[in-house]
Symmetry: C2
Subunit: 135 residues, 2 copies
């Protein structure tokens, strides 16, 4: 369930054919708060879908990102992470445990100088440091 509709319906609304694998992968992302990598998603789902291929996970995540179903986070350095929450928010990555946290932020409050004629498609605000669990 997301915004009151099923994952399946949500996929259709975004123009993605809701195959079994796609439903399960999106479900995984929407229910997770850990901003998983493709590998993480694969490890989670292979338990219940033994035939799942890692390639399917990569392809599907790329498809979701293209269709605006998930956000791609270039924050970890060595692996891409994905976020099922597409509402604007910031990210905090802990240098110690590598966990990624969400936080509320309104980047519309920022003024940017020097971008005349540039088309902005995505905004990303992220912080790096030590989380409260690791301090």
């Amino acid at each position: 369930m997301i915004n009151g509709i099923s994952i399946e319906e949500y996929l259709r609304q975004k123009g993605v054919n809701p195959s079994y694998q796609r439903i399960r992968i999106l479900e995984c992302l929407v229910n997770s708060k850990s901003h998983p990598s493709a590998e993480d998603v694969y490890k989670e789902l292979i338990k219940e879908i033994p035939t799942l291929s890692k390639t399917t996970v990569y392809n599907t995540l790329e498809l979701f990102a293209d269709k605006g179903l998930v956000l791609t986070l270039s924050i970890d350095g060595n692996q891409t992470r994905y976020d099922g929450n597409t509402l604007e928010h910031g990210h905090f990555i802990c240098e110690s445990c590598n966990r990624v946290y969400d936080f509320l932020v309104d980047t519309d409050a920022l003024t940017c100088e020097g971008l005349d004629g540039f088309v902005i498609k995505e905004k990303h605000f992220y912080l790096r440091g030590i989380c409260s669990s690791c301090v």
Copy 2:
């Protein structure tokens, strides 16, 4: 030259022994506005320093990042880029040409909710879209 002092002196001030390779690598970053990757730096310098090793470039860039001489940009997805400008500013990456542009922004204007007890070490604000050259 940076802030009126030589690259060599700048390295010393930051507690880094100014070897020939380190001077040349930092010089490369400070003079560049292209936010080069380790590979880019290597390709640029190998022309003049035929004995240079790619490992040296990687190690040196990591050292510089640790010592606060350069910023590490996780913006490109498939490679880490480095910025010799450590003053706060935002980055814009063009989805078409992959160039990274700087722009002025003051992230102190932002209020972040949900980070009580978190230690913030770095702030990053970046945008993704199409640059004015590619529009």
